[in-house]
Symmetry: D2
Amino acid sequence: MVRVSILGASGYTGRELLKILLRHSKAKIAHLTSETYSGKKVSQVHRALGGIIDEKFEDLNISKVAGDSDILFLALPHGKSQKPVAEFLEKGKKVIDFSADYRLNDSLIYKRWYGIEHSYPKLLEKAVYGLPEIHKKEIEKSSLVANPGCYPTGVILGVAPLLSHKLINGNSIIADAKSGVSGAGRKLDLAYHFSECHENLVPYSVGTHRHIPEIEQELSKISQKKITISFTPHLIPMDRGIICTIYASLKVKSSLDRIWGLYREYYREAPFVRILPQSSFPEVKDVVGTNFCEIGMVVDRRTNRIVVITAIDNLVKGASGQAVQNMNLLCGFPETEGLLY
Amino acid sequence: MVRVSILGASGYTGRELLKILLRHSKAKIAHLTSETYSGKKVSQVHRALGGIIDEKFEDLNISKVAGDSDILFLALPHGKSQKPVAEFLEKGKKVIDFSADYRLNDSLIYKRWYGIEHSYPKLLEKAVYGLPEIHKKEIEKSSLVANPGCYPTGVILGVAPLLSHKLINGNSIIADAKSGVSGAGRKLDLAYHFSECHENLVPYSVGTHRHIPEIEQELSKISQKKITISFTPHLIPMDRGIICTIYASLKVKSSLDRIWGLYREYYREAPFVRILPQSSFPEVKDVVGTNFCEIGMVVDRRTNRIVVITAIDNLVKGASGQAVQNMNLLCGFPETEGLLY
Amino acid sequence: MVRVSILGASGYTGRELLKILLRHSKAKIAHLTSETYSGKKVSQVHRALGGIIDEKFEDLNISKVAGDSDILFLALPHGKSQKPVAEFLEKGKKVIDFSADYRLNDSLIYKRWYGIEHSYPKLLEKAVYGLPEIHKKEIEKSSLVANPGCYPTGVILGVAPLLSHKLINGNSIIADAKSGVSGAGRKLDLAYHFSECHENLVPYSVGTHRHIPEIEQELSKISQKKITISFTPHLIPMDRGIICTIYASLKVKSSLDRIWGLYREYYREAPFVRILPQSSFPEVKDVVGTNFCEIGMVVDRRTNRIVVITAIDNLVKGASGQAVQNMNLLCGFPETEGLLY
Amino acid sequence: MVRVSILGASGYTGRELLKILLRHSKAKIAHLTSETYSGKKVSQVHRALGGIIDEKFEDLNISKVAGDSDILFLALPHGKSQKPVAEFLEKGKKVIDFSADYRLNDSLIYKRWYGIEHSYPKLLEKAVYGLPEIHKKEIEKSSLVANPGCYPTGVILGVAPLLSHKLINGNSIIADAKSGVSGAGRKLDLAYHFSECHENLVPYSVGTHRHIPEIEQELSKISQKKITISFTPHLIPMDRGIICTIYASLKVKSSLDRIWGLYREYYREAPFVRILPQSSFPEVKDVVGTNFCEIGMVVDRRTNRIVVITAIDNLVKGASGQAVQNMNLLCGFPETEGLLY
């Protein structure tokens, strides 16, 4: 049994994380912190947990939280995780950080895209990018896991096998992503007002989204050379789910059969990746509420491109489910504990 | 005053066409046919028109309809328009056809993509592709207008200026399209059942959608060489609207300023194209219920690609509004008659 | 041609009012004011009006606005209309006020429900409740029209014929109302955040909604005795539209035929009321975007109750369309001008 | 460990039942039948279960299914359960039936509302109405549980304490219900087409819905005299969830405090009923995906009515969750097994 605490537990990812931990047979909740709702009962904010959880949100007290916890989940805004992560590590705790603060290996790139100085550049070397399908071994040995962004999870899982087998031209990758509105979190903004989102579809941050350096970093590692991608996110009138439609030019003519086989092989030991039967495509509703990533693909002979489509739940495989998957690896639990029905 | 009739007036495009014609100061409805609802009052099927329109749907009687009409709108399924179009033309009538039957200039390509033999290949030469922003002159002189598909409208308007000015590599075009469910029409299919579409997002016909040859034909004409594109449509949980996100490689480095200026110039006389201010992107809700096509664009220096985004209402600019715009040109009416507030 | 100005034109009702006025053949827009967006182009806020309207929002200058206008539409928050209404009236202008400030005849009731003192109680006597189907004659002669609330429009039109013919027990009326989210306007509130409203249904202000005194006042006038009702509004995951389901006990056994006939008779000269055929019920989608109120009813012999169901678009018949209908009456224009297709 | 089979497992209730059973520590799936999808893999129909369940749907073979099962869940259409229920009972099996076939104690009332003769009227005496909060003791001893309809669950749980304590006039009950579209099941019908339901709200079966006799039967039992209610269902543009807004006249003046206390007391041992704090009202999103029924209430002094609002997930507490709760009682398992996080 590990004792876990969540910092910033009042958002949507906090809520999903709580739901998963309640199902987890080896985790026990110690503290739940929230700046906004400190002192309030968790069930007043996450009303669906009424009658199930009796805790209150607390202010953050690092020593107290560290003293009572083995694993820390930090669901804080970008920039706000840097310091507490460092402090928890110093106290010998294991940390899973939801923010971007420890995802980028290079503090200069972090500064360029997030506009914030990194105060703990040394720690970036210790951080492991928490995509278990790619970095399982490192995660198992790590004490600081940077939980990936939602879009990067969908894009990287979609193209990793292609780059690993050098099947595509790395700089031909175009990822067109579509996300439900919960990805924007619980913050107030007219852009996420029902009457603005509903019966609407909004492209945003075209070519400038902060998930780009994260995707490029990981794809470059896999292909062992620098990759630059086009990435366009869109806001879709649904609450949860992300579809990434990824286009790339095939270097050599390859049959769908062969490529499909390579995907199956690549993810043979990945319990949460479902390679769909050929000519099936992922749909959001088949992954919502689960930690699965579904992948489908088409080889388009007319253009000599491959189109790979992935689907995840942004709040689960794109955030809280992946975090628990990482915790399972950190702690030597079965990888799927708490994450299947 | 022209007398107009609609064949297949009981579908969603029929409903929108009726609404527009009711606002049109120079059109008078003669006949409305429907196989399924013949004999029923229009207002029983299109209930929103209760108290506004008193007509009944009729069975199709070509002679009778032709005798009472100057302009025919055919909103029939693919394959079903071939013959009535030929018959109306023979009687000297002007026809605006919503189906794909007269969109493709080459009957072999028609057969390959639609699986139907074309019985009137000669007529394909007389047909004009009814995208007024590109073919205004031909439309004005034509008697057979093939009203474009919804996706082709969004894609062609998005890339025409780029190809016309030879700014992009023609074979680098990738169009990722997202459509509301009304695009599927009123037919019964579990795929369009509320509980299947809602809170879902479904890619479909990846690389195989029938709008591909239509887009390629028109883009090839503009660029005067054969263009092959990648095209992926997605079903979005909204009723109306299409966003096309289009990627292409720039042949030469060009500034956004310059390209943006060329778009403004290209569409200078197009009353229904709105080139958005730089760094603004089209959203579905700004065009729904209108005949406008909004266009926004980004030049991505990192990848040397341009990303063009267009938005239309699939039932208006993507179908019935465009049909009325074509009628206005055919008849010498002001191009915007009936189509602005 | 009348010159009209809108105060508070940047909200959703302002947008709909603009759309209608653009279609209106006898109205010309003079000034559009907005506290929040003063100085901005209207088409930057109401982006759907891009290329159609070139005006800017201005700060409110009563003298200037009054000097250039014949009719004033005030779409200001409750409490904020009291003073400008008085000032415009003093300058001899005609005013149509969207707020509740002049709807209640009794300033004490106003204070009790809105918590604000009324500074112009004398003016309350001059104000006419702007429900044209009930008060057409008074509206035609008035210079101050209090445009009804959205829910009151749906409820009053639903039960007026029953009370007028003394068919029901006045104190048995229960109105269960369901509204789209646009009714909440454009203000920021977590309750109207997409992820909170979507795939949700929220009862609110149960028995305490501010539209209650307004409904009771009007129903009491019709029945010539004091009426007290139960009223429960619900927030529905749709943008526009209100369904009111109204229950009342029949005083005497009456057939549906007879009552249905009385409704038809009662609204014989009401161009925007559609009494549906027996056994048909109103649906939101048949009235959205229109100024119609649809009414259907059932006589339930088992319980000796009548159930009346009404549907309106909260932004049109429930706000801006009704305001234009009132303007038409004030100015002697045809009642439907600008309000049909 | 009990062996369970599901007849008619391919619908939405079948899918939810499967999900719950997969989490259940004491149930093992034996057979899954489906007329439509027999021979297909379950994961091809319920794609979200891909990689989790490997079974195929089979044709129904009563002997085989009975031989391998202890508990049978029948999710068949009304009328189709009569016979298999009888056959399973004869073979000594325990049955939980989702249809209405065994819900009504009186075969004449069944015939009047469902239009079908009941072939096993004797069995109606053995059937227990499976609302555990009311009939726990009988369910524990029964072998035939008639699983309640979704609306009746929401209405009965809402008014049972009031009738039990004789606080209201039984014939004053009006239940206005709002349901998500999944309540209509997976059958094809234009009424449930996305473009017809979305951004729409549809009242239906006003005063004639088949759940009325079921509600009246149970309320009459509780109050020990015949109760007649008004009931109006509405289709809401959401997938899951039901809100019932219930109005009744108080017999005597009672404070909210007192009544609220009686509700708490009444449901003291009901693990799935949440009585909300005073002045809180149930929302759909707080119960979706759970077996909870939330209840809130208001005492309206102005009208001397009480308004009770309940929320359930129609597919869980309104169908499959309740069925598993009944199974738990039948088998002596903890009542919440498989039904909490």
